[in-house]
Amino acid sequence: MATLLDTLSWVLLTVGGISVLVGGIGALRMPDLYTRMHAASVTDSLGAILVLTGIMLQAGWSLATIKLVAILLFLLLTSPTSSNALASAALLAGTRPFAETRQEQEARK
């Protein structure tokens, strides 16, 4: 049972580390703000969930697990909120997406 939990938490930590790294590379390499936001939200949600769940399995039933659950819940509540605020502020300030929307394509024809 302990070996199973260890293996599971190692797998979760490894996949979480990989997704954090992939999101960081994406946030650096993507062409415009909205695609960069997409890449950053991968690290914010998926990476945080996987890494914190992996640590939780290592911690077992203790006060640390409760604190980790609180951190995870708080991150899951706040990171979509700040992404939404960032996107609406950027759109209001006039930042256009890199790709054309369908209306713009038809207007160009």
């Binding site: 999101g23 609180a70 951190i71």
Partner: protein
Amino acid sequence: MYYAVTIATLVTMALALLRAVLGPSVYDRVLAVNMFGTKTVLLLSVIAFLYGRPDFLDLALAYALINFIGVLAVLEFFRSRSLRRSAERGGRP
């Protein structure tokens, strides 16, 4: 295994800092700073278990709160500034 996650998080924090330095607009920089803050919370949680000191989790919780409030305050500042400027130009926001 904690070392691998720590190194991946540190590399991602370096990439986010690079994006904050390079970022063409203000919003790219805010995005990078927000990402940096989330990665700091993850790094603090991993380091708490790497060194076997669960006290660090309190620091991670406090940092998550501060980061969220800070990002929202900065965004509200820039949003009201752009609204004010477009109102001064007389255009539609």
